[in-house]
Every structure is written in C-alpha cells, then in structure tokens.
C-alpha cells in the first residue's frame, strides 16, 4: 500500500449543502471516494491509500486536472484505491463532486 496526499488552493467553493457523500467500492480496478465538506472554502485536499505502488506521477496529473476542472473548494476527498485506472479515478472523483453538490441532507 502507498499513501499519497495532495493539497490545492482553489478558486471557488463547491456548491450544495450536503456534508458528505461516498461513491464507488474498493475492488480490483475500482476505488471508493469519500468526500466531506470540512475545509475552508479556498482549500481542497485529497488523501489516497492505494494498492498500486509507484504511480505518484499519474496521481499528480489526475488530481491536478480534476481540481482545475471542478474547483472543489472546501472539500476533503479520502480515497481507498484497489488499483483503479486513471480514467476510473477521474470518473469517481467527478461522481463524488456531483453527489455532494446535489441538494440533500
């Protein structure tokens, strides 16, 4: 297992009022993303535990593009990764943002 952590400053706060959401499942080639609204509006953090060791560069690129695109201010993402492909990671992150920005509890 490998632990990675990314922190980004972002332009805008993520919309919606939900406090947390979870998408995905930990399985081979899959991952779960837990997203929580716990940070100041201009910050975003992503913590990763991954079964695939040595892909820090790819994660950096995936996370960079994701933060650029969604500006998920105020959100902390916690990822348990079963060795998912980068495109699956991008998709789950996008799904997590969609879930927490939906109206709901």
């Amino acid at each position: 297992m490998e632990d990675l952590r990314f922190e980004h400053s972002v332009r805008t706060r993520a919309g919606g009022t939900r406090q947390s959401a979870i998408v995905g499942v930990v399985a081979s080639g899959n991952l779960e993303v837990l997203v929580e609204r716990v940070l100041p509006d201009a910050e975003c953090a992503i913590e990763i535990r991954t079964a695939a060791v040595g892909f820090g560069e790819v994660w950096t690129a995936v996370i960079g593009d994701f933060v650029d695109r969604y500006s998920p201010g105020g959100l902390r993402f916690s990822i348990n990764d079963g060795g998912a492909r980068p495109d699956t990671v991008s998709l789950r992150l996008a799904q997590a943002v969609r879930s927490i920005t939906e109206n709901g509890q």
């Binding site: 297992m1 499942v25 991954t50 079964a51 348990n80």
Partner: protein, 312 residues
C-alpha cells in the same frame, strides 16, 4: 449537467435497477422509503478493518457492510446490506460486529423487524477467526431477536451469493426472498471441485452451479419463501409480503423444521441432481425449469408449495 434520473420517481428507478448489479448503498436507497435511511457508523467514521493492513490490502471505510434504520411503507425497519464487491462481501471483525449490534438492538426493542441484504462469500480469509466468530455471534443474535418476537428477513440476490457462514445465517432467518441469480450454499463450487474432483462438480459449468445452489432450486426446495425478480422494487415488495406473513417463533417452529428437513432427506436424499429432485416433485419437463420465465416459475413454485414459514 443534469443527472439522468432527475425526473423519474424512486419507484420507477427501483423497478429498473437490477438488485444483482447494484451496490449495497443503492439497494438500500431504493428498497426503503425515499430519504428514510439513517446509517449507523457510516464511512465518515472510518471504522475500517484493523487486520487487512497485515496483508497489505486496501480497506473500505464501511468494511463492506452498511447498517442502519429506515422505513418500509411507513413502518420502521433495521437494515443491513453487505457489499459483495468488497472482498466478496466477506465477514470480518468490524463487518460482523455492526450486524451483531443491530440485531441486539432489535432484540431489545422487540418490535422493529430486521432486513439483511446478504451478499457474501462467507468468512473473510485474512481475519478468519474473527469472521467465523462474528458469524457465530450473529447467528446467536438472530435467534435471540427472533425469540423476542423480532422478524428477521433475508434478501438474497447479489453477485457474491450467500455462502459459508452467510448461508448458515440465512438459514437462521424468519424468512428469505431470493432471485434467480441469487445463490445460497455453504461450500462454494470451487471448494467442492477441489475436494471432490471435477467429475463430481465442475465449478465452471454454471448451469450446474445454478441448478444446485441458485434461486430457483432454493425456492422449489422450500429453502426460500419468495422468488423475486432481479430488481430492487421486487425485493421491496417481497420484504413487505414476508413481514406480513411471518408468524411467531418458538419450539414448534423448530420441530416443524426438523420434520420439514427430515422429509426432504427421505424424499430426495438419493437424487443426484436438481433435475431429479424437480422431477420427483412431479414437475413435467423438469429439465426446462432453469429456462422458465419468472411468472411461469412462480406459478409452478406456488403449485409445489414447499414453503412453510412456520417451519424455520
């Protein structure tokens, strides 16, 4: 960007959502009354297995089971749903303890039923002792809850089936609903093949696997009470139906079950294949049972009428 399902109702979604394919969370969301689910020790609590790191394996924040409280047609229910894709839905220490705690509360309250959405290969290998013991505790807790008057209903139709200790736990429930792709057994196909040889059981012959352990056979045998279509709405309706039918539990139930199982052994103990059992039940063209559409199958199963809710 709009979500694809914005404008359709929860019921429509539940009708069109395969139980087999869904995640544990989706099953609960669509099974219960809209927005009624409250989770206990949810993923944000990060109560992960303390043992997987020994094996350098990834953890899941909910340890593969979602437990909580919700409403079913307005009435309160406790629910537990296993996530069959995380380590095959296997029972570990934390996973099992969540269900145990839920059942203990149900016993104490004595009036709120429990729905268990099984999806499990059995004991989690990496914490085998803790998992085995967790199942023992769950079985005890189910019996104590039932003795206190609690209805415990199992729903089985996930991709990992209901194997090992999951199969035993299911056998302790007041009633079961199963779908065609659902499987209930103790030993898995590969285990039987490894122990007895491919001649006895070819685990890759999926038709054989399903007619031996699958939902249709379990329903015909009387091991499950209701045959559900593979969508969440049908499981919801099955759960409601069963909750309305379950009677009290006591010594008489166990005596009736003894008789039911002994009768099964004497009738079918010599059968070599499920088709022989079905034929012995008087089903014409028994070999075509796996191909029957569900409405025809349900009619057939009701005619055979092996279920006996007072005998489990």
């Amino acid at each position: 960007m709009t979500a694809p399902f914005k404008d359709i109702t929860l019921t429509e979604r539940a009708c069109s959502t395969s139980f087999y394919e869904s995640s544990a969370r989706t099953r609960l969301e669509l099974l219960l009354d809209a927005g009624s689910f409250v989770e206990f020790i949810g993923p944000e609590q990060r109560e992960v297995s303390p043992h997987l790191k020994i094996f350098d394996l990834p953890e899941q924040f909910d340890d593969g089971i979602v437990v909580g409280h919700g409403r079913l047609d307005g009435s309160p229910v406790f629910v537990a749903a296993q996530e069959g894709r995380f380590m095959g839905g296997a029972f570990g220490e934390v996973h099992g303890a969540k269900l145990t705690g839920l059942l203990r509360a149900a016993r104490q309250i004595a009036s709120i039923p429990v729905l268990i959405l099984f999806d499990t290969g059995g004991v989690r290998l990496q914490e085998a002792n803790a998992g085995e013991l967790a199942i023992a505790e769950i079985m005890r807790a189910v019996m104590e809850a039932r003795s206190a008057g609690v209805k415990v209903v199992g729903l089985i139709g996930g991709r990992s089936g209901c194997y090992g200790g999951g199969g035993l736990t299911a056998g302790c429930c007041s009633a079961l609903a199963v779908s065609e792709p659902g499987r209930i057994a103790v030993s898995g196909p590969e285990v039987i093949e490894t122990n007895r040889g491919v001649e006895e059981f070819d685990s890759r012959d999926r038709a054989l696997v399903w007619r031996t352990m699958g939902g249709k056979h379990r329903r015909l045998l009387g091991a499950a009470d209701v045959f559900a279509d593979d969508n969440v709405q049908d499981f919801r309706e099955a759960a409601l139906e069963l909750l309305g039918l379950i009677g009290p539990f006591g010594l008489d139930s166990l005596k009736a079950e003894q008789e039911r199982l002994a009768d099964r052994l004497s009738r079918y103990g010599a059968c070599l294949d499920a088709v022989d059992i079905w034929a012995a039940e008087g089903i014409a063209h028994a070999e075509s049972v796996p191909e029957l559409p569900s409405d025809q199958f349900i009619t057939l199963a009701e005619r055979i009428g092996r279920t006996n809710r007072d005998a489990r």
